[in-house]
Subunit: 467 residues, 2 copies
C-alpha cells in the first residue's frame, strides 16, 4: 500500500489510460482486476479517453456494482450514449445496482423507449422505487433525494439502531448511513442520531431518551435551492425529505447538494450575462441551442437600444452645431453601464446568498446612492480633466473647454448615480414581484442606462449650453 | 417530541426571539434550559435580534460547549464584536470548546491584542494546536482543516477501529468521525475506511486486509479551491490533509468545503462585474471599503474608454457631414458589449468548473466565431431594418437610407463577431498567462469592444461611403 495523492490534473487516469485501452482489446477479462483499486471518479476519467465501443465493453466486463459506480461518475452525455447503445439486459443489470436517486436521474436522461425497456428489466421492487422517484419534479427535494436511509423506532435501543446500520451496510447500501432517523408509531420523523451519537450513548439507552429531536427536514416539493440553503445553514451531511404527514420519504445527501449549488451558480452567472441557462456543460450543448439561448435577450436588448437613435435624432440640429458632444457619447454611456453592472451583480448575489433581503431595500437605496455619488464624482472629475487637458477644439462651437468639460463631468456624475441606483434597486423590485432578480443582468442594466444616460447628457447639455 | 419542519424563512427563531430577549433580562439562568432543544443555527438566528450586550450575556449564561456551538454559527461581525468586548476569561473558555479549525478562524478575525489575551487563557495543548493552524495560509487546505480526526494502524482490527471512534465520540469530538484513516508504521496515510465499511467488515478482520487503499488526500499548501474540486469530484464528506512525508495533519470537512464553494462563487461574480471581491457580506463591508473595491476598475476602464474620444475626433469632419452616423453609435457599441459579455461569462464559468480547458482553445474559437456570425447576422438584420423603416433623413448627407442601413448592418455584424471572439478568447489567454480569467469581466469586455467597435464602424463607413 502506498499513499496516493491526487492534487494536480488527473495524473493517475492519464498514466493508466493507455494500458487499459490496450487491455480492453487484448484480454478484457483482466480489466476488472487491474482497475479494482481505482476510485470510480478516476475510472471515469480513464473512460473519457475511450471510444464509445470501448466504454460499452468496459461496462460489460466490470462487475455489475462496479459498472454502476462508474456510470454514476460519467458525464451525462457519455452515460446516455453508452446505455442507449448497450443491450438492454446488460444496461438494466447495471442500472439496478445504482443508488435509487442516480438510477432515476440516469433513466430520465435516456430516450423514452430505451428508458422503458431498461426499466422493465429491473427487479419489481427497485422499479417501483424508481418510478416513484421519477414522479417528482427534477428540481425538487423529491427529485434529488435517494430512498436509501436508515431508520429506527422511538422505543429501539442504541444497540438496535447500530445493528440496523450494520445490516444496511452489509446489504451494500452506500448512502444515508451516517445518520439514523427516529420514527414514531405513525412512521413520522421525530428525531435523528448521528453514528457518532449512537456510539457515544450509554449502552442500553433508548432512542426515545437520547435522540436529538431538533430534526431539520424538507417537504418533497421544496425547491432544490431551498434544500441547499438548509444544508448550508445547518452544516448537514444529509437532509431528510418528508411527506405532508411528516413521514420520511428519503434523504438528500451532501454530494448532491454540492452539485445543486454549483449548477445553480452556473445558471446565475449565465443569467447575469443575459444568457438563458445552458443546463449542460458548454461543449455538450448543441451549437444552435446555444445560439437560441443567447439570441433571445440579445435581440430584445438590441431593439430596446434602438431607442437611443430616436433620442439622439431628436437633438440632431443641436448636436450638429456642437459636434464635440457626440465624441463623449460612448464614454458616458459605458461609465453608467459599468457602475450599474457592479451594483446589479452585488445586490443580486447578496439576495441569492441571503445577505440582503427585501426588508433592506431602503438601506440598499441609500448606500448605493452614496456609492453612486462617490464613484460618479471620481469618474466625473477624470472626464472633466480629460476635456480640459485635450479639448477637441475644432468641434466645440462657440464654447470654451471649461464649459464642455463641465457638461461632460456633470453628466458622468448623473449617469453613474442613475446606473448605481437602478442597478441596485431593480433586483429588489424583481424579487418583490416574484421574478428571478438575475433578469437584471449586466447587459440589461447597461442597455437601460444607455438610454437614460443619453437623455441625461442631452438635457444637461441643453440646460448649460442653452442649445 | 414533535416533528419540527424548517422550510420557510426562519420561523422558529422569529417566534421565540422575544421570549428569549425577555428571559435574558428577567431570569438569565433559565435561558440555557429553555433553548436546549434549539439547533445552534436557530439559536444564532435568535442572536441576530439581540443587542451586543444581550448577546454577550447569552454567551455567558449558556454552558461553555453550547456557547462555542453558537459562536461557530454567528456571523463574523457579531462574533468578533462579542468576543472582543467579553471578558477574556469567559472568551477563552468558550473558544477552548470550539473545533480547532473554527477556533483558529475566530482568533484570526479578532484584534491582535484581544486574540493574544484569549489565546493565553486556552489550555496549553489546544493553544499549541491553534497556533499550528494559524500558521497556515487562510486560503490553503491547512488553513481550513481541523485537526480532529480518527486514525488507526494497519495492524488494528475493525473492532479496534470502532473502539477508537467510540472513544473519540465519548470525548465529545464532533468532526471527522465518519471516517477512520489508516496509518503505517511511519504514520503515513495509507488507507481509509468509512464507518459503514467498518460495520460491514467481517468481525476480527484487520484494517491491513479490508481498508481501501485508494485514499484521496491534499497537501497542506493546496489551494482551498483545489480541495473543493477534489471533494466534488470524488463525492467526499472529508478530505485528509497531509505533510510532505505523507503524514496526516488534519481533515477538511464537507461543510467547510460548501462554504468555500459559495465564497469563491461570490468572488467570481464580483470579479465578473469588475468589483474587487468584498470578502464579507454586503452590509458588513464598510461604505468606503466598497467604494475603493469598485473605483479601481471603474476608473481604469473609464480612462481606457477615453480613447473613444480620440477615435471619434479623428473622424470629426466626416461625421459632421453625415451626422446620422453618430446616432447609431450607442446601439452599435452596446450590441458588441452585450454579446462579448455573454461569451466571456460562458467561457470563464466553463473554465472554472472544468468544462473547458486550455486544450479546447481552437474549438472554443471556432464555436464562438460561429456564434458571432449567427448572432451578428441576426442583430445586423434588425439594425438594417430599423434604418430602412425609419431613416433619419435630414442628417444622412447625400446618401440613401439603404446605404446607411448597409453600413449599420455590416458594422453590427463585425462588432458582434469581434465581441464574441474577444470575449471568449480573452479568458483563455489570461488563464494561459497564469492570470485569473475573471479579469475578463463584462465591463472590461464591453469597454474594449467600445473602442474596437467605433474603429470598425468608422472604417466600414469610410470604405462604403468614401468619406
Amino acid at each position: 500500500m502506498t499513499p496516493s495523492k491526487r492534487t494536480g490534473e488527473h495524473t493517475i487516469a492519464a498514466l493508466i489510460a493507455p494500458d487499459i485501452r490496450a487491455l480492453l482489446r487484448s484480454s478484457p477479462q483482466e480489466v476488472a482486476a487491474e482497475t479494482e483499486e481505482l476510485h470510480p471518479a478516476d475510472l471515469a476519467d480513464v473512460a473519457k479517453t475511450l471510444t464509445k465501443r470501448d466504454l460499452i465493453k468496459l461496462l460489460q466486463v466490470l462487475p455489475r456494482e462496479r459498472a454502476a459506480d462508474l456510470v454514476e461518475y460519467l458525464s451525462d452525455q457519455r452515460r446516455t450514449e453508452a446505455l442507449e447503445e448497450m443491450n438492454a439486459v446488460d444496461a438494466a443489470q447495471i442500472v439496478t445496482e445504482m443508488t435509487p436517486d442516480d438510477r432515476a436521474d440516469v433513466l430520465e436522461q435516456l430516450e423514452e423507449g430505451v428508458a422503458d425497456e431498461i426499466l422493465s428489466g429491473i427487479p419489481a421492487e427497485a422499479r417501483a422505487e424508481t418510478e416513484r422517484l421519477l414522479a417528482y419534479e427534477p428540481d425538487s427535494a423529491g427529485g434529488i433525494m435517494t430512498t436509501e436511509l436508515t431508520s429506527a423506532r422511538l422505543d429501539a435501543s442504541v444497540e438496535d439502531a447500530l445493528a440496523e446500520v450494520r445490516a444496511a451496510a452489509r446489504r451494500g447500501r452506500r448512502e444515508g448511513l451516517y445518520l439514523v432517523y427516529v420514527l414514531d408509531d405513525q412512521s413520522r420523523l421525530v428525531g435523528v442520531m448521528s453514528l457518532r451519537e449512537i456510539l457515544a450513548a450509554p449502552p442500553g439507552s433508548l432512542l426515545r431518551d437520547v435522540a436529538g429531536t431538533d430534526v431539520v427536514s424538507v417537504p418533497a416539493t421544496a425547491d432544490r435551492e431551498e434544500v441547499a440553503r438548509i444544508t448550508r445553514e445547518y452544516d448537514l451531511v444529509a437532509v431528510p425529505v418528508v411527506d405532508e404527514g411528516g413521514r420520511v420519504l428519503g434523504v438528500v445527501t451532501v454530494d448532491d447538494v454540492i452539485d445543486v449549488i454549483v449548477e445553480e451558480q452556473t445558471e446565475d452567472i449565465q443569467k447575469q450575462a443575459a444568457v438563458q441557462p445552458l443546463e449542460e456543460p458548454y461543449f455538450q450543448v448543441g451549437f444552435f441551442s446555444i445560439a437560441r439561448k443567447r439570441a433571445g435577450w440579445l435581440i430584445l436588448l438590441f431593439m430596446g437600444s434602438t431607442l437611443t437613435i430616436n433620442v439622439l435624432a431628436g437633438y440632431g440640429r443641436q448636436l450638429e452645431s456642437i459636434m464635440a458632444l457626440t465624441f463623449f457619447l460612448p464614454l458616458i454611456v459605458s461609465a453608467g453601464g459599468n457602475s450599474g453592472s457592479q451594483s446589479a451583480s452585488l445586490i443580486t448575489r447578496a439576495l441569492a446568498v441571503g445577505d440582503v433581503t427585501l426588508r433592506d431595500a431602503l438601506r440598499v437605496f441609500l448606500r448605493e446612492l452614496g456609492q453612486g455619488l462617490i464613484l460618479g464624482a471620481s469618474l466625473g472629475l477624470v472626464g472633466f480633466m480629460r476635456v480640459i487637458l485635450a479639448p477637441p477644439t475644432a468641434e466645440m462651437g462657440a464654447f470654451s473647454a471649461t464649459t464642455i468639460a463641465t457638461v461632460v463631468g456633470l453628466t458622468v456624475l448623473a449617469v453613474v448615480m442613475t446606473g448605481t441606483v437602478v442597478g441596485a434597486m431593480l433586483p429588489l423590485l424583481l424579487r418583490r414581484a416574484g421574478v428571478d432578480p438575475a433578469i437584471a443582468s449586466s447587459p440589461f442594466i447597461a442597455s437601460f442606462v444607455d438610454i437614460a444616460g443619453i437623455a441625461l447628457y442631452l438635457s444637461i447639455a441643453s440646460a448649460l449650453l442653452g442649445m
